[in-house]
Symmetry: C2
Subunit: 342 residues, 2 copies
DNA sequence: TTGTAGGCGTTATCAC
DNA sequence: GTGATAACGCCTACAA
């Protein structure tokens, strides 16, 4: 039998409204009354019923964060940061796992469960360009990590092309010319994979170098395992490789593992660079050169935009802003940088 | 203006209750009526209001998972598994971040926000033995990862002592005698740190070897950074080390990084072993020998116990069960094992 | 400053 | 099978 406001009111000899005023820190309550109510609350062990409050208020104080998988370091670090940023704004985060699968991503966008929260921060992976119209939803939504698929949706992007270009230029500067790319799959869409590949190949082209497709190791999922497999395929083609660019850090680390198994030295024989700047890369042996995409800022910005939309009661509309966070190259041992761990 | 059941009922020419019956898949609804209602739902774009449903039902279909930090691989992998297991049972997971700080952990136990969900899976870190009585809560609760602090609370433990013993015996078998321990801090309590230390030192004692405290590197937090720092302190004492036991994998990986920096070969000069079997350890160079504590089983069991308690409406009471999951030693390159990645 | 009435959208009860 | 009606616990008027 849960204790309700009514019980507290009775116990304190006041009305329900007064109890409500006290627990919600409303200004106009006499100190003595407040005191009495707080005492009753403590005695009876009253706890607010959120379902009732949510129903009445029409909002829940929760937001959803939909990511592919929590076990991928980039997303676990991102989730951590989103949770902290949301807490600062008084919101609780419901983490939804889409697996990066299109069907589940569409479901995250429309399911009943979605309605349990006031808004959604969404990091899509499997969505196709033709799904763009699905993003025209009637609730507050902020997209993460990919180029805006639709103009009316708030969107926090990272500088994929610029970051990839920085990696390419860095490797070229180190004298590498036979650079393998691990992770490429879709090179046309607006996804991270495509953008990070484009930025890279364009930089090579600018330097008068054409990327040899035999040095591309494709990986549908971006994990250590698929990175390792892709690296093996490239090496087995026997085309010669003096550097590896992993489209994200776990791919690069998987590739580095294969180089280690094959007795190739990093960076002497093969330089390695990744993308994302996950903590792990600062401690690998050798430590991993990578691109810090501004993840903390992305998380914070996304939460602010979303909370702002929620507060203004402005679900969607034409006010979609695209914010691009600037990336930063982090040079470490795997390309001949110094060995200071992050 | 959201569409309600009332709207659907009006549109379909039926009562609200009938709509409710349809959306909840109640058996006794005539096919034609069902058809009509579903059509109206689709036309009007009706979506269930969860706040109202939760208020009426008295439950939310959500559970809370309280962990120190999502960015620690053990907890991100655990969270992933809990989310999947909960989904199988029809529950959504709210991940709460305690930072491993006692105050925040107590808060997770009692805050109003806690009441937004039907139960709590709690992985404490900063709680003291004297806080045991705080675990006598009036809602479904399952403890994770530590020895039961209180008898009436369901508790899923890992075999910390057995796992640590297995590591010690393995290192001894490999001929190592001057083994450093990285991470020890509290060696008396019932926490993971203490149990993993005890199991280890006892195994040494059984072999007639006394652990030299100068080979202990303390670390309050268990991260790569603190592991590296602890390792440096031990090495700087100049006592000589031919093996390192990290109380968890990130500590061990941080330590391994320092060995790399100092030019010590693993495992030739120094063998390294950890605890937790995070994915990363299968891809480090060299790959990391560790203990798989049965994390997937822990996650699944915890969810089942909790959901069971919720379903039975049995908040606490004397039915606290302690389940201990058996650990398994995973031998890899860092102690001279084969190099097959996980 | 405090009390009262009504509604938030759903589910449960019990007639029909 | 289906339909009124009363909770569920809280909040926002408005009244006192």
């Amino acid at each position: 039998m849960p204790v309700t406001m009514r019980d507290v009111a009775r116990h304190a000899g006041v009305s329900v409204k007064t109890v409500s005023n006290v627990v919600n820190d409303f200004p106009h309550v006499s100190p003595s009354t407040r005191e009495r109510v707080l005492a009753s609350i403590s005695v009876l062990g009253y706890r607010m019923n959120f379902s009732a409050r949510n129903l009445s208020l029409g909002r829940t104080g929760m937001i959803t964060l939909a990511v592919p998988e929590l076990r991928l370091p980039y997303f676990s670090e991102l989730s951590d940061e989103v949770i902290v940023a949301a807490a600062e704004r008084g919101y609780t985060v419901l983490v939804e796992r889409t697996g990066g699968v299109r069907e589940r991503e569409l479901e995250a966008l429309t399911s009943d469960r979605r309605r349990m929260t006031d808004g959604l921060i969404f990091s899509p992976l499997g969505l196709r360009p033709s799904d763009a119209h699905r993003l025209e939803v009637d609730y507050p939504l902020v997209l993460l990590g990919e180029r805006a698929l639709h103009g009316s949706v708030h969107h926090v992007a990272m500088g994929n092309v610029a970051g990839a270009r920085a990696v390419a230029e860095h490797l070229l500067e180190r004298g590498r010319r036979r650079i393998a790319v691990v992770g490429s799959y879709d090179t046309r869409g607006a996804g991270a994979g495509s953008l990070r590949t484009q930025g890279f190949t364009r930089a090579l082209a600018d330097a008068g170098i054409e990327h040899d497709p035999r040095r591309t190791g494709e990986a549908l999922e971006w994990t250590r395992t698929t990175g390792a497999e892709a690296m093996r395929r490239v090496l087995d083609r026997g085309v010669g490789v003096d550097a590896v660019y992993g489209l994200n850090d776990v791919l690069a680390l998987g590739a580095m593992r294969v180089l280690y198994e094959r007795g190739l030295r990093v960076p002497e024989d093969v330089a390695v660079a990744g993308f994302d700047d996950i903590e792990e890369g600062g401690f690998s042996c050798p430590s991993l050169t990578t691109v810090q995409p501004g993840r903390p800022e992305i998380a914070r910005t996304a939460v602010w935009l979303l909370v702002d939309r929620i507060a203004r009661g402005a679900p969607a509309g034409p006010g979609g802003r695209e914010l691009v966070v600037a990336p930063e190259l982090v040079v470490r041992e795997s390309t001949g940088g110094v060995g200071e761990p992050a």
